[in-house]
């Protein structure tokens, strides 16, 4: 199963990105890691190009909302019909209220949203969700 991942916007925090890459590989996924400093268009292009069924966007500097709020505009593309869209990290500048942030990002078109969730817990949930959705 192929997964595209990376850090969105002008965010250069690389450590968690590398850990996500290593952990996804060890969970048996084929990972296309676009690294830090990636724009939404680039993520979408990579999903189409690699024919991946999962996109995991991460963000640490809190600026994800501005970069991702137009996801719907891209989602209409035919080949993205079955793709699972996931976002996680620090999804707001400052503390942020999870009960407000999660529904907001779901409205933007994300299937799974993780705000300040432990990295390994989040990846565990992603693995279960993906395997369930695709009956693996």
């Amino acid at each position: 199963m192929k997964i595209v991942t990376g850090v969105v916007g002008n965010d250069i925090h690389v450590v968690a990105n590398r850990l996500i890459d290593i952990s996804l590989q060890s969970r048996g996924f084929e990972v296309f890691n676009l690294g830090v400093n990636t724009y939404l268009e680039e993520f979408i292009d990579a999903v189409i190009e690699t024919d991946s069924k999962v996109l995991i966007i991460s963000s640490l500097n809190g600026e994800a909302e501005g970069w991702c709020r137009e996801l719907h505009k891209y989602k209409n593309h035919d080949s993205l019909k079955d793709v699972i869209f996931i976002i996680g990290g620090n999804l707001s500048v400052g503390e942020g209220d999870e009960s407000l942030i999660v529904p907001k990002f779901k409205e933007y078109g994300f299937d799974l949203v993780f705000h300040q969730v432990d990295l390994m817990d989040g990846l565990e949930q992603i693995e279960l969700y993906v395997k369930d959705r695709f009956k693996l």
């Binding site: 250069i12 690389v14 590398r18 850990l19 890459d21 290593i22 952990s23 060890s26 400093n37 390994m120």
Partner: protein, 455 residues
């Protein structure tokens, strides 16, 4: 006119750069006080660890006040840290932010915008304090900055084509960086003929995240060779506190010996090679008393390593840019430890030293065997094909297959070697120290723990 000189004249014709007088600058360097040359200070203070804090402020007045504080607490080498806009050659933004900083008396830049201030004015400050200045920046294309720095009287230039790219940039073309830095080395070498040599220093901490000693040493020596082959006569290799006392001491020995060996191998054995130690560059505790202890420990290790210079941190590290008082306090602590630490025992760990030396040699053998015709191309190809691989580099060219974790004694070990051309024997030695079990996710958990080892 030489090609180099033609390039320099084009570069200083930048609209943000003042009128640059090469002849006058040459005279200045020729007649400059010996006290401004760190290379001279290294020579006259042999066996002593010189202390250099970090720091840079946007306005001339704040920079002057910072240096005043440093002079008061007896700092040996003053830093001149450059702001992030200048590092990206964006002098227009630096200019705007400098004007705002002056008008509103708030810092809108994280360092000193040297190009905007200009060398004539900056030289007044530097000659006033009559202490060596070290240029700290992170600039991929530092051609203008370095001519400005030397004209100002800053006779040490940090950085290099690998250490200022792989840890800092995602997309800056690595091959361009090699060529821009070749220019810097040539300018440095030219000025070095006039008086005491200008010192070049490489940035050993890299990503400061579980970088194994062999990678640090290989990159330090690679940058040193690129510098010496252009005629630089004084060079500092450096590394940061690894989090393992044992590994720090072993590294100190191996990097000195190997650097000398490879310098001689390319016929540059006459250059002076210095060793610089960075206090812990990873995540700092938020408890300021713990930070003080960590800083003290780093100072003590620098003394045991026999470093020629230590670069200090402050207790404010976890919270942002330190004040001049934070810096002053850290320097006092570090100097106290270095002055009272006498009679350091001679530490030997033959097995570790042998293994690390062999790993360094194995990687250099692969680099030198690359089919390219020049050293910078050999090194460039080696980065491209993963012979050199820096953990947690954000750069697209980095191979990202090398995985490291700490062993029970906190030594950084190679768990997955990726395309590192180390022998079976070397890799087995690394593996023999690890005991991670079968669950692959335990590696990720271990890495998370290892990164936060000082918290």
């Amino acid at each position: 006119m030489s090609l180099l000189q033609r390039d320099r004249e084009l570069i200083v014709a930048n609209e943000f750069c003042e009128e640059f007088d090469f002849e006058e600058t040459k005279e200045f360097v020729k007649n400059a006080s010996k006290n401004l040359f760190i290379s001279h200070k290294f020579k006259t203070n042999k066996g002593k660890t010189l202390v250099q804090p970090r720091g840079g402020f946007p306005t001339y007045d704040k920079m002057f006040a910072l240096y005043g504080e440093f002079a008061k607490v007896g700092v040996d080498i003053f830093p001149m840290t450059i702001d992030s806009n200048t590092r990206l050659n964006d002098y227009a933004s630096a200019k705007k932010m400098l004007e705002l900083s002056q008008k509103e008396n708030t810092d809108f830049l994280n360092g000193y915008p040297l190009v905007n201030h200009g060398y004539k004015k900056t030289r007044e400050m530097i000659t006033h304090f009559d202490t060596p200045i070290s240029l700290r920046h992170g600039t991929p294309d530092a051609r203008l900055l370095v001519d400005m720095a030397i004209a100002s009287g800053a006779f040490e230039i940090e950085g290099g084509p690998i250490t200022y790219i792989l840890p800092y940039s995602k997309n800056f073309p690595q091959d361009k960086a090699f060529l821009y830095w070749k220019h810097v080395e040539r300018v440095t070498a030219e000025y070095s003929k006039l008086n005491e040599p200008i010192n070049r220093e490489s940035f050993g901490p890299l990503t400061a995240t579980l970088v194994p000693p062999v990678i640090t040493i290989v990159i330090q020596i690679a940058e040193m060779l690129l510098s010496l082959e252009e005629g630089v006569k004084s060079f500092s290799v450096s590394f940061a506190q690894t989090g393992s006392l044992n590994q720090d001491l072993v590294m100190g020995k191996v990097i000195r010996k190997s650097a000398q060996k490879y310098a001689e191998q390319i016929g540059c054995g006459d250059a002076t090679i210095n060793l610089v130690y960075h206090q812990w560059m990873g995540a700092f505790p938020r408890d300021k008393f713990k930070s003080d202890s960590l800083i003290d420990m780093g100072a003590m290790i620098a003394g045991m390593v026999g470093a020629d210079k230590i670069i200090t941190k402050t207790r404010a590290e976890a919270f942002g840019i330190p004040t001049k008082e934070d810096n002053g306090q850290a320097v006092k602590n570090v100097k106290y430890i270095l002055e009272t630490l006498r009679g350091v025992p001679n530490f030997v760990d033959e097995e570790e030293e042998e293994n690390l030396t062999r790993e360094v040699d194995e990687i250099f053998e692969a680099i030198f065997n690359d089919k390219a015709d020049t050293l910078w191309r050999k090194i460039f190809n080696s980065i491209k094909n993963g012979i050199i691989d820096v953990p947690f580099s954000p750069h697209v060219i980095n191979n990202n297959e090398l995985i490291t974790v700490r062993d029970n004694a906190s030594n950084i070990r190679i768990y997955k070697k990726g395309k590192l051309p180390i022998s079976e024997k070397s890799f087995k030695y690394e593996q023999s120290k690890l005991n991670l079990g079968e669950n692959p996710n335990s590696v990720v958990n271990q890495i998370i723990k290892d990164i936060g080892v000082m918290l």
